[in-house]
């Protein structure tokens, strides 16, 4: 992306509005959050600088640990549904010959519905008064003893708040995987088949490694998305009963906007952002294979050499 225009004034006129907007709406809040995380403040009155006290409090806060573990469970369920089911469906679709576009369009519908609507839908499915569809089905097939009040039962509530989120975006990830899979060169799969690989082997050994990039990127998206999961759990149970289905961001929200602990809330927010960035970095390292790292090192060396040559040439 090397450009050719050199008009400095025009460059600034084109770039600055967006840059200023971006700095103010995204980076100013980040800086403020970090600053807030070192103070104690109830929304009104004086802001008191307390150093690391909020962070110390954070690591002693039992509810925070609950929220952290819940978030991991939530993450596993959401990732499982979105990546595994999404991938499975995408692979199945590649074998279909007719109606793929139509099916893709319909699969996608849940992700264009607002979270509030999704939540209300699931709330009525989980309901006991009137009996929701899940309990009705369980009773109809003779598993009535498993029917329960899904959202108040402390054993089921966490799973119940995770499923709608997983359900909602499965179609989107399917579309992504499908696009990646059909963009593969059919000759390679053909070659694998001639070499005696069956369908399963072709998929695992040939196709999946070839869409590694896409897998990495979607995994990053799902993971960071799940770490910041908020809408559906917040609307469905708001972390309840008690803190049984509390996630990190619902806890942050509660502390800041219901408990007026803006300082402590910001500390949790900073933790969430640090964790998201960490996950992205770890995934990048994991997925960058040895070869690629080697390649990059060589490129770097070559660039250095060229620079040296140029300098000595002068």
């Amino acid at each position: 992306m090397k450009g050719i225009l050199k008009d400095k004034k025009a460059f600034l006129i084109f770039l600055l509005p967006a840059l200023v907007f971006y700095l103010f709406s995204v980076f100013y809040p980040i800086a403020e959050s970090i600053r807030f995380s070192f103070i104690k403040w109830g929304g009104l009155g004086e802001k008191k600088f307390v150093g690391l006290q909020n962070y110390i409090h954070l690591f002693q806060d039992k509810v925070f640990y609950t929220a952290f573990w819940n978030n991991l469970v939530y993450l596993v369920i959401v990732v499982g549904m979105q990546i595994l089911i999404g991938l499975l469906l995408a692979v199945l679709l590649t074998y279909l010959t007719k109606g793929v576009a139509f099916i893709k369009t319909l699969y996608y519908v849940p992700c264009i519905i607002t979270a509030v609507a999704v939540t209300q839908l699931f709330r009525s499915m989980y309901a006991t008064q009137p009996e929701g569809i899940i309990n009705q089905i369980l009773k109809a097939v003779g598993l009535g003893q498993f029917a329960t009040s899904w959202l108040t039962n402390i054993k089921t509530v966490l799973v119940c708040v995770s499923i709608p989120e997983g359900w909602r975006y499965t179609g989107m990830y399917m579309v992504i995987f499908y696009a990646a899979l059909i963009s593969l060169d059919p000759e390679i799969c053909e070659a694998a088949r001639i070499d005696g690989a069956n369908g399963w082997q072709t998929l695992i050994r040939v196709k999946l490694p070839m869409i590694k990039e896409v897998l990495l990127l979607t995994l990053t998206m799902v993971l960071t998305g799940a770490l910041r999961g908020f809408d559906i759990p917040f609307i469905l149970t708001n972390g309840g009963p008690g803190n049984v289905s509390e996630l990190m961001s619902t806890y942050m929200y509660k502390k800041a906007f219901a408990g007026n602990q803006f300082g402590y809330g910001s500390t949790i927010a900073v933790f969430i952002i640090a964790e998201s960035i960490l996950v992205v970095c770890v995934l990048k390292v994991l997925f960058t294979g040895k070869d690629e790292r080697e390649e990059r090192r060589i490129q770097k060396e070559q660039r250095k050499m060229r620079k040296l040559e140029r300098r000595s040439g002068r």
């Binding site: 980040i30 990039e213 927010a269």
Partner: protein, 275 residues
């Protein structure tokens, strides 16, 4: 023979998941046609006597139109800003020869990793100090800010397909830099504009977290907040009205989606694969 059986299994599986994906949505529309009594006794059967009563109730109450108007305002202004800011910034970052473009581009893309929750507390404090909570501006600012990384990226990647020779030729012909953007580059980016517009139209219309934080006044409520308001006697949710309201308010994004679904999927998949 075996192949045929496999094929059947395949089709059945795909249809089964399709059913799971769609059933709740279809059911929602059916449920909105049921009288409240029927919803309470047998909520999941087909409606015995379909009625538009729920819709009439919604129309009579009239709040839903105010919610939709508020959402529309936020959505339209945000999209105009997103397109204006990112198309120009994308141009600056891809067609100018300065060393600084690369780090700034990286700086924009970094934003994709930032969770929106981080802005809630600082922006809330800022807005309440300025006394502007409950205005559309409170939602537009973060919506546009968080849309910029991806949309700048999409414009940059599109502009990279516009050959530099074309721009050189325009310069030769005496076209100014602004003219190049307005008359040559931007008109070419029509598809990118539609993609970004349709995708963010749906995302911003559906936003819950910003609205829930910055809007408390009934008059300023957007669709996502309004849907939680249909409460009947005894403090229970009035499901009939809720479903009708949901059905009405998801229509605009549905229309956008079915009209422009290629662009929407392209945008969202791009959002995923570039993340």
């Amino acid at each position: 023979m075996k192949k045929k059986a496999l094929k059947t299994v395949l089709v059945v599986t795909v249809l089964f998941f399709l059913f799971i994906q769609l059933y709740p949505v279809v059911w929602l529309f059916l449920a909105s046609l049921k009288p409240s009594v029927e919803l309470a006794t047998k909520p999941f059967a087909l409606p015995d006597a379909p009625t538009l009563q729920n819709y009439l109730d919604i129309f009579n109450e009239g709040n839903v139109f105010r919610y939709m108007w508020n959402s529309l305002k936020v959505t339209v202004i945000s999209i105009i800003l997103i397109v204006a800011l990112s198309s120009t910034a994308g141009f600056a970052l891809s067609k100018f020869r300065f060393r600084i473009t690369k780090p700034i581009y990286a700086f924009f893309t970094f934003g994709i990793m930032i969770p929106v929750q981080i802005t809630l507390i600082p922006l809330f404090c800022f807005y309440s100090q300025m006394g502007i909570l409950n205005s559309s501006f409170t939602l537009i600012l973060p919506q546009v800010g968080f849309a910029l990384p991806l949309s700048v990226m999409m414009f940059v990647s599109f502009y990279s397909f516009v050959p530099n020779e074309l721009i050189e030729a325009a310069v030769m012909d005496g076209c100014s830099t602004y003219g190049i953007f307005a008359r040559i580059v931007f008109p070419l980016a029509r598809n990118t504009v539609i993609t970004i517009g349709s995708m963010y139209c749906i995302l911003i219309w559906n936003d819950f977290i910003f609205a829930n934080t910055f809007i408390t006044d009934n008059k300023a409520k957007t669709v996502a907040l309004g849907l939680r308001d249909y409460v009947g006697a005894f403090g229970n949710v009035n499901w009939g009205m809720t479903f009708a309201a949901i059905a009405i308010t998801i229509l605009p994004p549905m229309l956008v989606y079915f009209a422009l679904n290629k662009y929407v999927t392209a945008g969202m998949t791009m959002g995923a694969t570039k993340g």
